[in-house]
């Protein structure tokens, strides 16, 4: 089936070349970082994780979001998702590829990455994260490939594959739960030390993943003549609305706990993110506009998605709403959550984080790589579907 990626219209090649350009920039920036060290990033002693880990955290969610298709289709035999489920599985593959690249980009000694396997340490959450991320990647490649092959041959998929399909469901939940546990088990980081982090991650994942899938489905309909089906998209939008509302609800709960209890540790990071935190007469607030944009994006897009005229009648506005929701969730988890957790530091000092151009270049390169992989995978999926129709 791989040969299907080698034939395409000029637009396909132009798109790949466009992504390839960013990938090349990413590689060049990474070489610089590799030779000099992580000092080329905006990270510091106080804010020791930055854009890379925050993108990793967000993309784990995008990968886990695919389960919102797999679960109804395979467990509840929800036939409407027949054509769209493969998109979810392949999106999970691309997202995890990005996650792994972001982790590698973040390591101070990338050549020693295998130490995690050579010196297995079951008390570290990163150890489990490695297992579930690679496991989920493997499961999605296996299930996606076997089922697509069967579809192409117009036969039923082999029975054994269903074991792995069902296994991928708890794995999807676990990748994001374990990623949340990287944060929520750390003493002294009050913003992260909250039992609601894992459910909040899952809620935002189940909104962000499907939002991207709906957006891509709408694009595929136009550029690749691939229709996932109105009903499937409609159902996904419902899932997105509820998940995004749950995410907002969870954020609201964090506010309540922080501000009503009035415990400084629980309040300070929220204060920093949304209003600015005063320290020695200086107000630190570089994330405030982003966080409010995130809230406005999330609320606004939920309102748009809930409007029947947009949801059922206007594909452009529907796509736009998905994009806005995705961006809002990205700011919430892909920026604010990680950066904010380091402010203030354990000695109540404040250092703000601003990514450098080199860092942005690497991050863009990795995103481009993810979309490159995604394009190739979707090209295969779409062509197989076209082949069956003929």
């Amino acid at each position: 089936m791989i040969e299907k990626t080698l034939k395409g219209k000029p637009a396909y090649w132009i798109w790949l070349a466009f992504l390839g350009m960013f990938m090349a920039v990413g590689v060049a920036c990474y070489v610089r970082q590799y030779l000099f060290g992580l000092g080329l990033t905006g990270m510091s002693r106080d804010v020791s994780w930055g854009l890379y880990i925050s993108q990793f955290t967000f993309l784990v969610g995008v990968a886990a979001g695919g389960v919102m298709l797999v679960l109804p289709y395979y467990i509840h035999d929800y036939k409407v998702f027949g054509r769209i489920t493969i998109l979810g599985e392949f999106l999970a593959i691309a997202a995890i590829v990005m996650c792994l690249l972001f982790i590698m980009a973040d390591l101070g000694q990338p050549l020693r990455a295998l130490n995690v396997v050579l010196h297995p340490t079951p008390n570290s959450m990163l150890f489990y994260d490695m297992i579930v991320l690679n496991g989920y990647l493997f499961l999605n490649i296996l299930c996606g490939w076997v089922i697509l092959t069967a579809e192409r041959k117009q036969v039923h998929p082999p029975k054994w594959i269903y074991f792995f399909v069902y296994l991928s469901i708890p794995f999807a939940v676990s990748i994001h739960t374990v990623t949340a546990m990287l944060y929520c088990g750390l003493p002294g980081r009050h913003f992260w030390l909250s039992a609601i982090i894992a459910p909040r991650f899952l809620a935002s994942a189940f909104a962000a993943g499907p939002a991207l899938i709906v957006l891509i489905s709408l694009i595929l309909k136009r550029v690749a003549n691939y229709d996932a089906g109105k009903e499937a998209i409609n159902k996904l939008v419902t899932i997105m609305i509820y998940s995004a509302l749950l995410n907002l609800f969870f954020i609201g709960l964090e506010f309540f706990v922080g501000y009503y209890s009035n415990i400084p540790g629980h309040k300070e990071t929220l204060q920093y993110l949304f209003f600015g935190l005063e320290h020695h007469g200086h107000v630190y607030n570089n994330l405030v506009p982003f966080m409010w944009a995130s809230i406005i994006f999330m609320v606004g897009s939920i309102a748009m998605l809930a409007t029947p005229a947009i949801r059922k009648g206007n594909e452009f506005l529907l796509g736009l709403a998905c994009l806005i929701l995705f961006t809002g969730l990205w700011i919430d988890k892909g920026l604010g959550f990680v950066f904010g957790g380091f402010v203030p530091n354990p000695l109540l000092e404040i250092t703000e984080y601003i990514p450098t151009a080199n860092e942005l270049g690497i991050a863009l390169g990795i995103w481009a790589t993810g979309f490159f992989v995604l394009t190739l995978l979707y090209k295969i999926a779409v062509n197989v579907e076209h082949e069956i129709e003929h």
Partner: protein, 275 residues
């Protein structure tokens, strides 16, 4: 033919996977055996012998008492302790650049060090004095829990929370996990910023995390930690085995009221302060 090839590929794939997984499994299952040999190892690098009669059941646990009353009277002592640590461990000097700073022992105001204590109506001495801050060598260290490679670990023989720079992958999970801000990362090659080399101790390379090691290398030679030696005779910093009731440090702890940083987190710091 085709079927056979498939079968071969399947078996080859499965065995390759097993091969990758095997070392991990062997290591994990061998863990208990390792532990028992560790436990039997003689307690090297223990505190400079103060004739400890009998070790407590949990073995040696090295700790420190910092008497801020002494340091308040002689603030230069702390500077001396810091610079002797810097020289002993080839710590680079980034001239106050907060991003790159490498700190093993440093100065901070009371409110930053004791964030769980009230800062209202502090006596003048506490307001005006810089406190010494260093790794607490916790009895239950969150950084060790977080490290995915055992690059940071608790030395069984003496309770020091140590770093193996050879193994650190630079993921900085320990920095996020440490509630005391005791860890620094080498964002770039530190060598150009090391003023003078101590040829008995390595520098670090870029991409690894470092912190105070309670001078494990000096203890092995029967010397005291560099900062303790720098304050010798003043009683500003006392070092010893917290589990030995006869040790000097225990006698001070039994006599004086001391506080630890963030005790509510359950990390059980081994550094105590007299304020």
């Amino acid at each position: 033919m085709d079927k056979q090839r498939r079968k071969f590929l399947k078996i080859a794939g499965a065995s390759a996977l097993a091969g990758i997984g095997a070392p991990a499994l062997v290591k994990l299952t061998a863990g208990s055996a390792y532990a028992s040999t560790h436990g039997a190892a003689p307690a090297h690098g223990a505190a400079p012998a103060t004739g400890h009669a009998e070790a407590a059941p949990t073995g040696v646990r090295l700790g420190m008492v910092i008497d801020m009353r002494v340091i308040a009277d002689h603030p230069a002592l702390l500077d001396k302790a810091i610079s002797s640590c810097t020289e002993a461990h080839n710590i680079p000097d980034f001239a106050g650049d907060r991003k790159n700073e490498i700190k093993w022992i440093w100065k901070a105001p009371f409110g930053s060090v004791f964030t769980e204590h009230s800062t209202s109506h502090l006596p003048k001495m506490v307001q005006d004095t810089d406190f010494a801050v260093l790794c607490n060598h916790c009895d239950d260290p969150p950084c060790v829990r977080a490290c995915p490679t055992k690059a940071t670990f608790k030395v069984k023989a003496n309770g020091i929370v140590a770093m193996d720079f050879h193994r650190c992958i630079g993921c900085r999970f320990c920095m996020a996990a440490c509630p005391y801000g005791a860890r620094s990362f080498n964002w770039q090659d530190p060598r150009p910023y090391v003023k003078k080399y101590n040829p008995d101790f390595p520098t670090r390379m870029r991409g690894v995390v470092e912190k105070c090691n309670f001078c494990g290398e000096r203890l092995a030679l029967g010397k005291e930690p560099a900062c303790v030696e720098a304050c010798k005779g003043t009683g500003a910093i006392v070092f010893g085995d917290l589990n030995d009731p006869q040790s000097e440090i225990r006698q001070i702890l039994d006599r004086e009221f001391t506080i630890q940083r963030k005790p509510s987190l359950g990390t059980k710091p081994s550094v105590f302060y007299i304020v």
